[in-house]
C-alpha cells in the first residue's frame, strides 16, 4: 500500500468523522426549529413557500398521514418525470434533437430517479436532452434524497419523544437548508477543477490527427454535485465519474467522495443529538465505520494481489487495473467505489464487471447490509431497525422485556421491524429467481458461468438497495429488466421507510422507562460487537447460498485456474 493511498484514506475517513458532529447538530437545529445562520436569507422564502402550500411550519402528521404524503408526492414526481421523458423531443433545451424515451425506459428511469436509485438503463449523452438532464433528473436528484431525509427526521423525532412533524415542511427544509447550499459549494469546487457547466450544444472539433469528433457537455458540474450529495449516483454520462468530464482530477475525486458521505454521517450523529444519546450515535458510527473499513479492505487487497489466473502465468505483481482509471489509481478508485456502495450512491469510477469476484463481495456487502451509513435518512433508519431486532434478542438475555431508548419493544414493534428486514432480501431473492427462471430474464445474461448469474443478483440488489450501480455485463435495456427493476426499486424504497415510521409512532405513545442497573446499555463496546455480529449473521444466513453460487464459486474456479467460456 502506497503512502499516497494511506494518506488519502486517512484524510477522507478522518474528514468524514470530523464533520459528522457539527453537521449532525446543524441538522437537529434545523429540524427542531432552532435558530441557524441560514434563517436570515431563507426564512422569508420558506414562509412564502409554506404559505403557497397552505401549511404551518410546526404542524404535525401521524405516521399514516406522513406516509401518505410521502407516497403521493413521490407518485406525482414519478408521473411528471415519466411524461417529460416521453415527450422530451418536443420540450425545450434539446439542441441535439434527442428522441422521446420508449415507455419502459421512461418508467424505469422515472422510478429509479424518484427512489434515489438512479439505475441507468441508458447512455446519458445519446439519450437525454439538457432539459431532461437538469429539469427532470437533476430535480429528482434533489427531491428524492430530500424525501428520504425527511422520513429519517420524522423517525428520529418520534423516538426522541417528539411528534413526527410535517412531511412537506421537512422536505422543503431538506432542500433549502441542506442540499441546495451544499450543492452550490460542490458545484463551484467542481467547476474549479474543470468540470463543464453550460447549456451550449456539444462541441464539434477537429482533432490533431485530422479527425472530426464531438465532445458532449452540458450542466455537468451541478448534476455531479447533487448526484453525490444526495447519494443518487446517476451519472451525466454512461461512464459516470470514470469520465474525465465528470471527475477530472484526484481532487475532484475527493470532493465527490466527501460529498457522498457528508449527510449519511450527519444523520447518524443527528440520531444522537436528537435523542440525547450521543455515545449511542458514536457506537453506531463505529459499527458502520467498521463495516466501511472492512469493505474497503475487501476491494483493495484482492485487486492489489492481482488476478490469480494472470499470476499463474508467472506475471507476478500485476495489480488488477482492468476497467480502472490510471489517473485515480487503485487507492483512489477503491475508496470511491467503497463509498459509493456504502452510502448507496451507485456512481462509479471504474467497471464493476472487471473486478475480481472476491472484491465484488464488498460491493454486495454494501447493498445487502444497507446500513454502512447508507443514504441520508434511510441509512440510519435501517441501522436502527437492526438495533431494534438486536436489542430484542439481547434484552431477553438479560432478563427484562427488551427496551429501545427506554421504550418497551413488544410484538408490534418486533413484527414490523422483522418484516422491514424481510422486504430487502425478499426483493433480491424473488426478483433474481424470476429473472433466472424465465426466458425474458435469461435474455439479458451476457457473461457465461457464475459471472452471468452474479450480474443478475447485482442488478436486483442494486435496485432493492436503491444503489443504482451495475455489474455491467447484464443487458439492462430490455423491457423485462426495465419494468421489474423499476418495481423492485419502488418497493425497496418505500416499504421499509413506512414500516419504520409506524414503529416510531408506536414507540412514541409508550411510557418511558428510566435506566437502571438492570437495563441493557446500548452505548457500549459490547453492544457494538453484538450489533455487528447480529447484522453479519442475519445477512450471511440470508445471502450465503446465492453468494456461494456466484462470486464465491467463481473465486474458487479462478483459484483452480479454470476459465469460463
Amino acid at each position: 500500500m502506497s503512502i499516497q493511498t494511506m494518506v488519502t484514506w486517512i484524510v477522507v475517513l478522518g474528514g468524514l468523522a470530523a464533520v459528522a458532529k457539527p453537521l449532525g447538530i446543524y441538522i437537529v437545529r434545523v429540524f427542531t426549529f432552532q435558530p441557524t445562520w441560514l434563517d436570515r436569507p431563507l426564512d422569508r422564502l420558506e414562509d412564502r413557500l409554506f404559505q403557497c402550500m397552505g401549511i404551518d411550519r410546526d404542524s404535525n402528521m401521524s405516521a399514516k398521514e406522513y406516509s401518505f404524503s410521502l407516497l403521493l408526492t413521490n407518485l406525482a414526481w414519478m408521473l411528471a418525470a415519466y411524461l417529460a421523458l416521453r415527450w422530451q423531443y418536443h420540450l425545450p433545451f434539446n439542441p441535439e434533437h434527442l428522441r422521446d424515451l420508449k415507455p419502459t425506459l421512461a418508467f424505469n428511469t422515472a422510478a429509479s430517479f424518484v427512489t434515489n436509485t438512479d439505475w441507468q438503463a441508458y447512455s446519458g449523452a445519446t439519450t437525454m436532452s439538457y432539459f431532461s438532464q437538469f429539469a427532470v433528473l437533476s430535480y429528482l436528484q434533489f427531491v428524492a434524497p430530500a424525501a428520504g431525509g425527511a422520513v429519517g427526521i420524522a423517525f428520529l423525532r418520534s423516538i426522541s419523544g417528539r411528534q413526527l412533524g410535517n412531511f412537506f415542511v421537512d422536505l422543503t427544509l431538506m432542500v433549502t437548508r441542506l442540499l441546495l447550499p451544499l450543492a452550490v459549494i460542490g458545484t463551484v469546487l467542481l467547476v474549479a477543477q474543470g468540470v463543464p457547466e453550460t447549456l451550449k450544444a456539444y462541441l464539434h472539433v477537429h482533432t490533431i490527427t485530422g479527425l472530426r469528433q464531438w465532445i458532449p457537455r452540458g450542466p455537468i458540474a451541478s448534476f455531479e454535485s447533487i448526484e453525490h450529495l444526495g447519494q443518487d449516483g446517476g451519472g451525466y454520462f454512461a461512464a459516470n465519474s470514470a469520465s474525465p468530464l465528470e471527475n477530472p482530477t484526484a481532487f475532484s475525486n475527493l470532493i465527490e467522495i466527501l460529498s457522498m458521505g457528508l449527510l449519511p454521517l450527519g444523520f447518524f450523529y443527528a440520531f444522537g443529538a436528537m435523542t440525547g444519546k450521543r455515545r449511542f450515535a458514536w457506537t453506531l458510527i463505529g459499527v458502520a465505520g467498521t463495516f466501511f473499513i472492512g469493505m474497503l479492505a475487501l476491494v483493495y487487497f484482492p485487486e492489489l494481489a492481482g488476478n490469480p489466473l494472470v499470476n499463474s502465468l508467472g506475471l507476478h505483481g500485476m495489480v488488477n487495473m482492468v476497467g480502472k482509471e490510471i489517473r485515480l489509481g487503485l487507492g483512489g478508485t477503491s475508496l470511491f467505489e467503497t463509498s459509493s456502495m456504502a452510502f448507496a450512491t451507485g456512481s462509479v469510477v471504474s467497471a464493476h464487471d472487471s473486478y475480481l469476484p472476491l472484491s465484488t463481495l464488498s460491493f454486495y456487502l454494501g447493498m445487502f447490509l444497507n446500513v454502512v451509513f447508507g443514504g441520508q435518512g434511510v441509512g440510519i433508519l435501517n441501522m436502527l431497525m437492526f438495533v431494534i431486532l438486536t436489542t430484542f434478542l439481547m434484552g431477553l438475555m438479560v432478563g427484562r422485556t427488551p427496551e429501545f431508548l427506554g421504550k418497551k419493544i413488544e410484538a408490534r414493534e418486533v413484527s414490523i421491524a422483522a418484516l422491514a428486514f424481510l422486504i430487502h432480501p425478499a426483493l433480491i431473492l424473488i426478483g433474481s429467481a424470476i429473472a433466472v427462471a424465465t426466458p425474458l430474464g435469461q435474455a439479458g445474461i451476457f457473461n457465461p458461468g457464475p459471472q452471468g448469474l452474479s450480474e443478475i443478483f447485482y442488478a436486483f440488489a442494486s435496485a432493492a438497495a436503491n444503489n443504482g450501480s451495475a455489474l455491467a455485463g447484464l443487458k439492462a435495456a430490455l423491457p423485462f429488466y426495465e419494468v421489474i427493476l423499476g418495481v423492485v426499486a419502488v418497493i425497496g424504497r418505500y416499504a421499509s421507510m413506512i414500516a419504520m415510521l409506524f414503529i416510531g409512532q408506536s414507540l412514541l405513545t409508550k411510557r418511558s422507562i428510566p435506566e437502571s442497573q438492570g437495563t441493557l446499555r446500548a452505548d457500549t463496546p459490547v453492544f457494538a460487537v453484538v450489533l455487528l455480529g447480529s447484522i453479519v449473521v442475519l445477512n450471511a444466513l440470508t445471502f450465503f447460498p446465492i453468494m456461494a453460487l456466484a462470486p464465491i464459486a467463481e473465486q474458487y474456479l479462478m483459484l483452480a485456474h479454470h476459465l469460463i467460456r
Partner: protein, 669 residues
C-alpha cells in the same frame, strides 16, 4: 408442594398420547415454525412415496423420519412440561372431589352437601377432622388448621374470627363456623388446578413478540430455500433435489426455540407454583421480571413478626405502675401481638398472674387516628398510639414526651405514647428485630437494578434506623395506606414497574395499583383478590423468587433463540458444499466443507440429525430455565452471549462432525 405421581407407566402413556395428539395440524398451526416443519415432512413423504422404485427413495424416507422426529420432540417436550403440572392438578382435584360440607340453615341445623354446590354467603360448620369445603372467613370459633395440602407447611395455623380459611385445608381441633366467600369453580383450589394444568394458559406479551419474530425468520428461510431452487437451475435442470431442500430449510429455521417455546412458558409457571406462589396469569410472572421498585412493609416483612414491648418509660411525676396499668387496660381488647406483648410486660411489672377482665368500651385502632384504647366504665379514657397522635390529643403538651420518644426512636425502637383522660403518662418502648438474611436479599435486588423501599407507619427516625439496619434503598415513614398508593403512582408515572407485598384489607388498593401485587395467604380475602399473585407461605421476600423466575423465563427464551440462530452457521458449512456436488462449475465449493464430512448425503443427514437431537438435549434448560444470577445487565449479557451465542456457533461444528463419523461407522455416510 405435595405432589403425588400415579404409576410411572401410565404417566408416560399420557405424555406419549398427548404429544401425538398435538401433531394435529389444526393445533400445530399455533406454532408457525413447527407447522412449516410439518408441511415439509408431508412434502418429503409424498416425494418418497411417489418416487417408489427410484434409487434415492431410502434416503428420502430417512429424511422424512428425521423430520418427523424433529416435530415430535417438540410436542413431546410440551406434553412433558404439561404433565409435570398435571400431576399436581390431579392430586388437588382428588382433594376437592371428596369433600363434603355441613351447610348451616337458618334454624341452626346442618345438612350434608357436596362442596362443589356451595355458594358465596353460605354458612358452613366445620368439625375437627373435616376438610374445609370452600374458601371463607371464620365467623365464630377458634381452631387450628392444617394447611399443608396447599402450602406444604406442616405446622398448624391458628384461625380466629375474621381470619380467612382456604378450601382443601383440614381443621384439626375445635369447631368453626365459616362463611363461604367463593362461588363454585372460583375457589382458590379451582384456580390453582387451572393454573398448574395450564388449561387457561395464554401466550404472554413477550411470548407473542418472540413468536412473531420466529415466524418472520421462518419466512425468510422459506424464501431463501424456495428461490434457491430456480436460481440453482441456472447451472442446469434439476440441480437441486426437493427432499434435500426441505432438509436445508428445516435446518435453517429456528426449530430449536420453536420447538421449546411453549414448554418454556409452561415450565416457568410450574416453577412459580413450586415456590408456593399462585400467579393469576403468566403476564404477571413476566412483569415480575421487569420490576424496578419493590415496596415492602416493614412489619412482618423486614422485621420479625411484630414489635415487642420491652420497657415502660413514664414522664416525670408519673409512676411506672401507673403507666403499666394504663398500658394494660388500653391493650386488653388489642389482639395484635404488640398488644399482647404490652399485656405481658405490664403483668410482669405489676406482678399480676392473669390479666383483669375487660370492663369498658374498646376503641379500635384506625389508620386515620393512628391510635387505639378503651373508654372504661368509670368514665376514664385511655389511649395509646403514635406519639404525634397522642400529642394532638393531650390538653397540655409536655416537651418531655417528645424527648423520651426521640430517645427511643433514635435507638431503633418504636415509641408508643400513652395518655389517660387527655394527660400524657409516658412512653412504651417497642422494639423491632430485623429478620436475618434480609440484607443479602436486598443486596441481590440492588445488583439486579431493583430499588427496595420500606413503608412503615413509624416515625422518620425509627424508620431510618430499621432501613439502615436492613439495607433497603429508601423508606417512607409515617405512611398511611394512601401514601403507599401515591408512592406507587409516582413511581409508575416515572415509568417504573412496581411490586409490593401486602396482607391487610387496607393494602388491597395498593396491591391492585401495583404492577405486581403479591398477597400473603395469611392475609385477608380482599388483599388476596386485589393482588395478582398469592404467596401460600406468606413469606414476603418470596418476591425475589418470583422476580428471578420472571427473568429466567425471558433469559431462557433469548438464550435458546440465540443458540438456534447461531447453530445455522455450522449447518451452512455442512450443507451448502454438499448441495451442488453434481454441478462441475460449482465443485470448488467443496472447499467450504471445512468439517471434512465424508459424503454429501452424510453431511446433510448429520446436520439434520444434529438439528433434531438438539431439541431433547435442551429440554432440561427449557424446563429448569437457564441459570440466573443476580448481576448487572452488562455482565449477564457477556456471560449468556458466550454460553449461547459463541458456544452456539462452535458446538454444532463438533456435533455435526461427530454424527457424520458415527454414521460412517454404520456405513450410512
Amino acid at each position: 408442594m405435595a405432589m403425588q405421581t400415579s404409576s410411572k407407566a401410565s404417566y408416560r402413556w399420557v405424555v406419549l398420547q398427548s404429544s401425538l395428539k398435538k401433531l394435529n395440524p389444526a393445533e400445530m398451526i399455533h406454532n408457525p415454525v413447527m407447522f412449516v416443519v410439518e408441511i415439509g415432512t408431508a412434502v418429503v413423504c409424498w416425494m418418497a412415496w411417489s418416487a417408489v422404485g427410484r434409487s434415492a427413495v431410502g434416503y428420502d424416507w430417512t429424511i422424512a423420519v428425521i423430520l418427523f422426529l424433529t416435530m415430535w420432540f417438540s410436542t413431546l417436550s410440551e406434553s412433558y412440561a404439561e404433565a409435570r403440572g398435571r400431576a399436581q392438578a390431579d392430586f388437588l382435584r382428588r382433594t376437592k372431589s371428596s369433600t363434603k360440607a355441613r351447610l348451616l340453615d337458618s334454624e341452626g341445623g346442618t345438612t350434608l352437601v357436596d362442596a362443589a354446590l356451595l355458594h358465596q354467603g353460605d354458612r358452613i360448620v366445620v368439625e375437627p377432622g373435616d376438610l374445609i369445603a370452600s374458601d371463607g372467613v371464620v365467623l365464630n370459633g377458634v381452631g387450628s388448621v392444617d394447611e399443608s395440602a396447599i402450602t406444604g407447611e406442616s405446622a398448624p395455623v391458628l384461625k380466629a374470627p375474621d381470619d380467612a380459611v382456604t378450601g382443601g385445608t383440614m381443621l384439626l381441633s375445635d369447631r368453626l363456623i365459616v362463611e363461604v366467600t367463593a362461588n363454585p369453580g372460583e375457589t382458590f383450589l379451582d384456580r390453582m388446578i387451572a393454573l398448574v394444568e395450564g388449561a387457561k394458559r395464554q401466550k404472554t406479551p413477550n411470548e407473542i413478540a418472540l413468536t412473531a419474530l420466529l415466524a418472520v425468520l421462518t419466512l425468510i428461510f422459506v424464501l431463501v430455500v424456495v428461490t434457491l431452487v430456480p436460481i440453482a437451475d441456472y447451472y442446469g435442470p434439476r440441480t437441486t433435489n426437493i427432499p434435500i431442500m426441505v432438509a436445508l430449510l428445516v435446518c435453517l429455521m429456528p426449530t430449536t426455540i420453536g420447538a421449546l417455546l411453549s414448554a418454556i412458558g409452561i415450565a416457568g409457571m410450574n416453577r412459580v407454583s413450586l415456590v408456593n406462589v399462585i400467579a393469576k396469569s403468566g403476564r404477571a410472572v413476566e412483569a415480575a421480571g421487569d420490576i424496578d421498585t419493590i415496596i415492602l412493609d416493614k412489619t412482618g416483612t423486614i422485621t420479625i413478626g411484630n414489635r415487642m414491648a420491652t420497657e415502660f418509660l413514664p414522664l416525670p411525676g408519673v409512676l411506672v405502675d401507673q403507666l403499666a396499668e394504663a398500658g394494660l387496660w388500653s391493650s386488653l381488647a388489642d389482639t395484635t401481638p404488640e398488644g399482647r406483648s404490652i399485656i405481658d410486660l405490664a403483668q410482669r411489672t405489676l406482678g399480676l398472674t392473669s390479666p383483669p377482665s375487660l370492663s369498658g368500651e374498646p376503641v379500635p385502632f384506625s389508620a386515620e387516628t393512628r391510635m387505639s384504647g378503651i373508654d372504661l366504665s368509670d368514665g376514664s379514657r385511655i389511649r395509646k398510639g403514635a406519639v404525634s397522635a397522642i400529642e394532638k390529643l393531650v390538653t397540655s403538651p409536655i416537651a418531655e414526651l417528645k424527648v423520651i420518644a426521640d430517645l427511643v426512636a433514635s435507638d431503633g425502637g418504636t415509641p408508643l405514647a400513652v395518655s389517660r383522660d387527655g394527660v400524657a403518662l409516658g412512653i412504651i418502648r417497642l422494639k423491632d428485630v430485623v429478620k436475618t438474611g434480609l440484607t443479602d436479599r436486598f443486596e441481590k435486588f440492588r445488583m439486579m437494578g431493583i430499588r427496595t423501599v420500606m413503608a412503615t407507619g413509624d416515625n422518620r427516625i425509627t424508620a431510618e434506623v430499621i432501613a439502615r439496619e436492613a439495607g433497603v434503598d429508601d423508606f417512607i415513614a409515617e405512611a398511611k395506606p394512601e401514601d403507599k398508593i401515591h408512592l406507587i403512582q409516582e413511581q409508575q408515572t416515572s415509568g417504573r414497574l412496581v411490586a409490593m407485598t401486602g396482607d391487610g384489607t387496607n393494602d388491597a388498593p395498593a396491591l391492585a395499583q401495583a404492577d405486581v401485587g403479591l398477597a400473603m395467604n395469611s392475609g385477608t380475602m380482599a388483599a388476596k383478590e386485589a393482588g395478582n399473585m398469592i404467596d401460600l407461605d406468606s413469606s414476603p421476600t418470596k418476591l425475589l423468587d418470583v422476580v428471578m423466575i420472571g427473568k429466567q423465563l425471558l433469559i431462557t427464551r433469548g438464550a435458546l433463540t440465540t443458540f438456534s440462530i447461531a447453530n445455522d452457521i455450522a449447518k451452512y458449512f455442512a450443507i451448502v458444499p454438499a448441495l451442488f456436488v453434481t454441478v462441475p462449475t460449482l465443485r470448488g465449493l467443496s472447499a467450504l466443507n471445512i468439517m471434512h464430512l465424508t459424503t454429501p448425503h452424510g453431511a446433510i443427514l448429520s446436520a439434520l440429525i444434529f438439528n433434531a437431537l438438539v431439541i431433547p438435549a435442551l429440554v432440561p434448560f427449557a424446563i429448569r430455565g437457564v441459570r440466573y444470577r443476580a448481576e448487572s445487565a452488562a455482565k449477564m449479557l457477556v456471560r449468556n452471549l458466550f454460553n449461547w451465542g459463541v458456544l452456539g456457533v462452535i458446538i454444532p461444528f463438533a456435533g455435526i462432525f461427530a454424527i457424520d463419523r458415527i454414521l460412517g461407522l454404520f456405513g450410512m455416510g
